[in-house]
Symmetry: none
Subunit: 195 residues, 4 copies
Amino acid sequence: MRDPDKPQAIIDAAIRVFARSGYYNSRVSDIAREAGIASGTIYLYFKTKDDILVTLFREKMAEWVALVQKEVAAERDPLAKIRKIVALHFRMIQDNPELAEVVQVELRQGHKFFRGASAHEVSAYFDVIQSVLEEGVAAGRIRRDLPLKVATKMLFGAMDQLATSWVLGKRAYRLTDAAEPVASIFLKGVTTDGV
Amino acid sequence: MRDPDKPQAIIDAAIRVFARSGYYNSRVSDIAREAGIASGTIYLYFKTKDDILVTLFREKMAEWVALVQKEVAAERDPLAKIRKIVALHFRMIQDNPELAEVVQVELRQGHKFFRGASAHEVSAYFDVIQSVLEEGVAAGRIRRDLPLKVATKMLFGAMDQLATSWVLGKRAYRLTDAAEPVASIFLKGVTTDGV
Amino acid sequence: MRDPDKPQAIIDAAIRVFARSGYYNSRVSDIAREAGIASGTIYLYFKTKDDILVTLFREKMAEWVALVQKEVAAERDPLAKIRKIVALHFRMIQDNPELAEVVQVELRQGHKFFRGASAHEVSAYFDVIQSVLEEGVAAGRIRRDLPLKVATKMLFGAMDQLATSWVLGKRAYRLTDAAEPVASIFLKGVTTDGV
Amino acid sequence: MRDPDKPQAIIDAAIRVFARSGYYNSRVSDIAREAGIASGTIYLYFKTKDDILVTLFREKMAEWVALVQKEVAAERDPLAKIRKIVALHFRMIQDNPELAEVVQVELRQGHKFFRGASAHEVSAYFDVIQSVLEEGVAAGRIRRDLPLKVATKMLFGAMDQLATSWVLGKRAYRLTDAAEPVASIFLKGVTTDGV
DNA sequence: TATGAATGAGCCTTCATTCAT
DNA sequence: GATGAATGAAGGCTCATTCAT
């Protein structure tokens, strides 16, 4: 396993191919052709076809969570952090629609991800959101009685649905334009009254 | 003379099988065995394996939308209608976890559903939600400046994520208990201030 | 097996269906539909799908040979008998193109016919031709040194090829018009010089 | 890098298998086993099972027609050319009885061949025969009033029937021994009187 | 006798994976 | 390491045949 760029090139090719046809309708040889290599070469870097998807997913999610954590840390205000998360989420989707399509769709293959190999990476993102909400509560900006897990899932679900609609739809508008309304509605729903 | 219960029995068996292994990892013969019939019999009622999934999806979504429409019509207050939708959504998921798992997961196979055969059924549910929000605006209970499509997707996304987490998780709690918090947070986010 | 018309109706339907699609591309249910009966009914009269073809073939060949024998017996002159055979052959093909197509094509399924169940019926037709040639030799009208088996096959092959070309072709001409030329060429080839 | 001998090996195996059981009763896996390869390998070289038969047929007929054309061109005398064609035809059948059996039988699958993909190859052989007859007419050796198309089909049909009988029969004699009688009878039938 | 729904063996074809070069 | 031809297990679908009604 010498060439350090090959795995990345394979993953990038896989993203494009999976986005086009879905995991089960894509052939390993399609990925190889897209990557400009022979299909046997893929098996020098990945154990199985499944391994490509799982690795892809883990890697991208880890990158993503790291980025969000860094950006969120740069903000002081808990509510600004929430706005930041929404803005980042939508920007990432908008800038990487193929990756987004793969993740949106295949993420739901519960057996593979939520319950499986990538559960950790997924929950890390939820943890980031929940931590910010906790900060908000501690700062008195978010309702003390807010059920945090529920609110976390709601925000993720709301963002995810906007993203899904955009990815699977015609993409005739800028998803990033939805960030402010989404954040505002959510924040109005969770913040302390009179603040 | 064809048995009019067979298609339903096949669909019910397919729901159990797809929930267990996912569409692509299920064999037609698995569905047949689950339904207690020979695999060839399935082809007397469905054209292809795909047809089973699409029919299943369309049928269940149509039933679902009809039920929600009826129940919502029975409520007067727009905000009570929203609470009703959330309660129904969660009850349905909780009472039909296998169906829920299939729909949650396969719904995202964008190529098959959102963009494909079942786009109509899916959007009908969105229409129900959006109509209620419009009523709320007309009644002065919901913010006049609310971006309706965004709010509709947010509510659906929030419910869907709660449902997904519950379905794919350990189901150690009652999903219906989450209905009130979800509805409250959402409503606080969208209702007119001071109402 | 009460209804005496059913087997005939099934065979007639089979002729039309086999002519249209060939034996292997025809389904038993196609024959049933063509005959206006249920597919299970076919098995009251025929043991297998194969049995339909074999019975069809035997029956039609037997009828055919009986007819030719009768008509040939009505002629005195051996050469006139040959002309009669050719004329009858072409008329039969022309009047029953669907039967002809089935027989022409499936006849060659050597395993089933020449070597199999219908060898007897096929050779009976060859016997008729050869007998006439023998008469011709005995009457001094046909060359004494003619290899009879070869000449018999040649005449049959010549007629059969004309028939095949007509059946598989556009049928834009009357096959019966070819009877006289075919008979003449053959007879010139086999008759005694100077007669 | 694909093995250039594989397609030929597959076709040769297919000839043996088809000759043994007929096209419809042969499985692709039978051909693979006969060729000593895995069944999937066949699909690296042929698109479908049907493609094997069509390719086999086209290729062999093209070779055959080319050979006949070359050999016929080497003869001067039109009548000698006819004798040559008959001799070659019978020799080819006798030397390749399995190929012969396949071609004889499947050739009649009108839908596939005469009317289908290989119509061109088949008619090329007829063209060779007819051209020679035309030469004979031009040379005054063959009757000016001979209906050429009829005579062409007669000769082909005669040869084909002798071949079929031999192939499907016990092959207890040398087919090539029939060449001279067949040619003589045909030529006596078509040549100018007194020549 | 007639029906046609049900059966399930059978087969073509695909494609993830291997391995000789 | 890289290749891609070869493999062969797997599965969707068909259809001849059966049998309960």
